[in-house]
Homo-oligomer: 87 residues x 2
């Protein structure tokens, strides 16, 4: 998959809600940073097929090609994340 | 919501796939670390009602009370995350 091509898609279609770095900008959207490619692809395919539904994502995913999905999933999964639990 | 009660639920029902710190242990599961309470609650309620379906989560969510959902969402959203984009 082509991470830079995925970054372009993220920069145009995803960043408003999910951020270019995958940290959600709005509370109804999930973070995508560091998610596995398997999970991201499965969700985008589910939104595209209608198996999973969301008023925003059903529209966004409709026109994504398999290649777009692979590339944008590669971009977000390439982001390194850390998690720190509260005491 | 009660973050410590949520930590207990996470430690028994969620950690195997999602990690206690919300970093997924298996590629088919998403990270939950730092996700907003609104998003986490909406997904757990959707799995419980059947609006969203997954072979694992439909079972796990079936017996969660509203209070359980609020508490476990509070735990995972309290985890601090950072994201670092590749160059």
């Amino acid at each position: 998959a082509d991470i830079q091509a995925g970054k372009k898609i993220a920069g145009t279609q995803c960043r408003t809600c999910h951020g270019l770095d995958g940290i959600a900008q709005i509370p109804v959207a999930p973070h995508l940073a560091g998610e596995s490619e398997i999970y991201l692809r499965a969700q985008l395919e589910a939104f595209r097929s209608g198996k999973r539904q969301n008023e925003m994502m059903s529209v966004v995913a409709k026109d994504l090609s398999d290649e777009d999905i692979a590339n944008v999933a590669a971009w977000y999964s390439a982001i390194r994340i850390t998690a720190e639990m509260p005491d």
